[in-house]
Symmetry: C2
Subunit: 133 residues, 2 copies
């Protein structure tokens, strides 16, 4: 299902994250969206999500680039569950490339004007139940 329109939406959000256009990034989220920042910490709503992305950018020393590998979408009415290989690429302190692949779980809702907005962003996927992160 890699040709699903949500792939383009997610890739556009990834470009905004990688470019540190965080005002642009929050426009991909619904007003009441939840972002799992890390296990145990959830940001709610655009203001908290913006703040979380600024902290994430600092954490990665402004070298973070996000992209997706495989994507599967299960759509039901105006809601979609997205399963995706989310690739976080960065550099270590010596400038050498490092990357982590997560199997993320995302929920999107389609608005009345046919735009998909993220309502749950959990890049940790089922690892939130315990496991390696």
């Amino acid at each position: 299902m890699s040709s699903h329109p949500l792939r383009q939406v997610i890739e556009a959000a990834d470009r905004a994250i990688s470019a540190e256009d965080f005002d642009g990034v929050v426009e991909f989220y619904a007003d009441d969206a939840k972002l799992v920042v890390h296990p145990g910490l959830v940001a709610t709503g655009k203001a908290q999500i913006l703040k979380a992305f600024l902290a994430i950018a600092d954490h990665f020393e402004h070298r973070l680039s996000v992209s997706q590998g495989k994507i599967e979408v299960v759509e039901s009415g105006d809601t979609a569950l997205v399963l995706a290989e989310t690739i976080l690429a960065s550099e270590d302190a010596f400038g050498a490339p490092v990357s982590t692949t997560r199997r993320g779980t995302y929920v999107f809702r389609k608005t009345a004007d046919e735009r998909w907005l993220c309502i749950v962003d959990n890049s940790y996927g089922t690892d939130l139940l315990g496991g390696c992160w």
Copy 2:
């Protein structure tokens, strides 16, 4: 978040599945719900979901018992992403117990009268991207 009301809903659905009360099982689903029967096969709506559960019961030779281990819920407005350790217990041809634990991903929606209905049932979780099943 194991005390979330959705745990009780899911456990009630598990009891109905284990008792082969499939008319009861489909009442836990929204009219437009999707059930991932296995990778590559998705049932849509209550009639197909009922048929899928009858086939699943046959597949497990009417010895299937379903329960949940850890559950995490990320709720946004009237929608919730549920991550759960779903345990499928059965018996082999010699009557010896066998069980499989999946890390499932489920999406529920709350109705106007505060009932949670399943809109996406994907017990394969992120393994749908490829992996062991």
